[in-house]
Amino acid sequence: MTAPAETGARRRAVITGVGAVTPLGVGAAPLIERWAAGECGIAHGVGACTEFDPGDHLSRKEARRQDRFTQFAVVAADEALAAAGWADELPYDPARVASVLGTGIGGLGSLEAQQDLLRAKGAKAVSPLAVPLLMGNAAAAAVAMRHGIHGQSFAVISACAAGAHAIGQAMRMIESGDADAVVTGGSEATLTSVATAAFASMGATSPSGISRPFDARRDGFVMGEGGGVLVLEEAEAAAARGAEVLGELRGYAATSDAFHLTAPEPSGRDAARAIGLALADAGLGAADVDYVNAHGTSTPLNDHSETEALKLALGEDARRLPVSSTKSSIGHLLGAAGAVEAIATVEALRREIAPPTVGWSERDPELDLDYVPGEARRLERRVTDSGPQPLIALSNSFGFGGHNAVLCISG
């Protein structure tokens, strides 16, 4: 069950559970249902998880020992594991299960609070919990401890590509045989004073406080927070235990711009290469794609270079494809974005829809793709001799530092 088949067939990673905490509510269901209905979880210029109360999910002691970014991951993981039927015990040897979670920054709110204490009251006032609260690997560690996961556990940190990098890494761990199952995704909680000031200072965030990816009026991203966790299992092992399969990670690729600290390379060539490599990794071509879940941040630069990248990678097919951005509904969840968007993508495919880019109405002449304005669009499964085929989507994530990570998902 755990060794690659003698035929050399590749071990495949299927998705058997998802969980999310987002500005649209606690759960993967409100994420997809409210986004598909064209709703927006952004208020007063931020995408805050206002419906999240740690006391609903965690003991007092657990909550105090976890930064908000860890709490998001732990609560999303609880949902994902329960959905996978893992709530009572791991269905695999715990040494063959891994926990790989992305974050852009880690426990920044905790760091800021401790810095304040240090300044106000001196070194002796700094909490003994400061390090375990702020360390970027805290979420991966907390999830491993909570569920008795004894395989690899670590964090992936690559700004706004972290969630997608983590999932891609998890997929590779299953393919290579390093793990039979991986709890993976990402979380972020940086609606803090320093982060808010810092992103504004670099001109990345929206002065209007409106997230409208690909629209001519876009003026920056809207900061959001949250977490998304997926349970990946090796396909044959999942089938052997009768698990319900929500989707499959078909392909993954990551590249680097090596161009600028923050700006994307304007031609989109390295992002395009990641898209092409992810499709090749899946054994698919541009003609097979049914939907693109864009990075679509609502910054003038990203949405332009991403459009260029899609056209470079997909050619004429780019013009046929529905391309929409989850960030139009929840803002930019930074290191959680790739994970939450992968979950939104697989749930959209399961519902056979392309959710809309909420609020898109004014065409930028240089952004000439179909950004799914208005309402969710129905996707048609292709039918071959073997019956209706799974829908295929790409989910793009790009991060400051020039990190490009692309997932190819089927539903």
Binding site: A63, R64, K124, S127, P128, L129
Partner: protein, 81 residues
């Protein structure tokens, strides 16, 4: 100004502090720190609360042999006397 060290005052601050840091179970003088799931990190936090309130310093060495909540109270009262 630090609070006057009395048995009652110390007991209240320590009981409240243990609840604040999320001790599991009922906090009494007789309860062992182990039964309340109080670990070394919790003890440092409790020491910080005590120092803040009574200006009594409890370093790691001082608390390494305490077993019960009452032991901590007695230690603070003895040191603050």
């Amino acid at each position: 100004m630090a609070t006057q060290v009395t048995n009652e005052a110390v007991e209240k601050v320590i009981f409240d502090g243990l609840v604040e840091i999320g001790a599991e179970g009922e906090v009494t003088r007789e309860a062992t720190l182990e039964s309340l799931d109080v670990d070394s990190l919790d003890l440092v936090e409790l020491s910080q609360i005590i120092e803040d309130e009574f200006a009594v310093e409890l370093d790691a060495d001082a608390v390494k042999d305490v077993k019960t909540v009452g032991d901590v109270i007695d230690l603070v009262v003895a040191r603050g006397a």
